[in-house]
């Protein structure tokens, strides 16, 4: 089960498992972002390269207007995936 929502503070909240079958659902939300925002991974258990691709495409698009994503509360395994992918240098991770 995967879900993605924008909360009342404008923070993107991810839930569950972000695998290749969830790309369209995630893109619908990430494609709507126009300004810098925080993505909260607290309730996200799993992510694969399909999920990383959605985040990368969003970061690239926002970067063109000097905006960016900030990622918070990554669990240990997801943090490892970001490091293996070299994404820890292209995202602000807290």
């Amino acid at each position: 089960m995967f879900d993605v929502k924008i909360d009342s503070k404008g923070e993107v909240q991810l839930f569950g498992r972000f695998d290749a079958s969830q790309v369209e659902k995630a893109k619908a939300v990430f494609d709507s972002l126009e300004k810098s925002c925080t993505v909260n991974f607290k309730e996200l258990e799993y992510i694969s390269s399909a999920g990383l691709s959605v985040l990368l495409a969003t970061q690239k698009r926002l970067n063109e207007s000097d905006q960016k994503l900030k990622l918070i509360n990554l669990n240990k395994y997801i943090g490892d995936v970001f490091r293996y992918a070299g994404f820890d240098t292209i995202f602000e991770i807290e």
Binding site: S21, A50, S53, Y77
Partner: protein, 134 residues
């Protein structure tokens, strides 16, 4: 454990269940669940994406042999796709230069200890090994 899965991204849910059952059966550390799910997802979705007209199911085999975990994905009646010969991606590139292609295979290479490839009688087989900590 051995099972065939329909060549469809929607098979991922049952593949994850298959991996969870394997972890339970061998009483393996739960940190391995994430690793196995990720490497199998990356290779399975590659087979679905690059060989979408193939009507055959894809076979996944999970084995524990002493201190090794062995994962085998078999694609039948397929063109060769030797992931061991794919060039490495450059993870030090700047944001503007970063591309999505090859990221999944890069993660598989990072997370597993050994990758072998066999191609015989139009059967394409990727064999991954991970050494377990004693």
């Amino acid at each position: 454990m051995h099972k065939k899965f329909k060549r469809d991204i929607k098979s991922l849910e049952s593949i994850f269940k298959f991996i969870d059952d394997f972890i339970e059966r061998h009483a393996l550390d739960h940190s391995l669940t994430f690793v196995l799910e990720l490497v199998v997802e990356e290779l399975f979705t590659n087979m679905v994406k690059y060989n979408s007209n193939n009507p055959n199911d894809i076979a996944i085999e999970l084995n524990k042999k002493e201190n090794d975990l062995i994962v085998v994905l078999t694609d039948f009646d397929a063109e060769p796709f030797d992931i061991t010969k794919r060039p490495d991606i450059d993870v030090d590139q700047l944001l503007e230069e970063r591309k999505v292609g090859g990221l999944g295979i890069h993660l598989v290479k990072q997370m597993m200890d050994k990758i072998d490839y066999e191609y015989k009688n139009r059967t394409s087989k990727i064999i991954l090994t991970k050494h377990l900590e004693k």
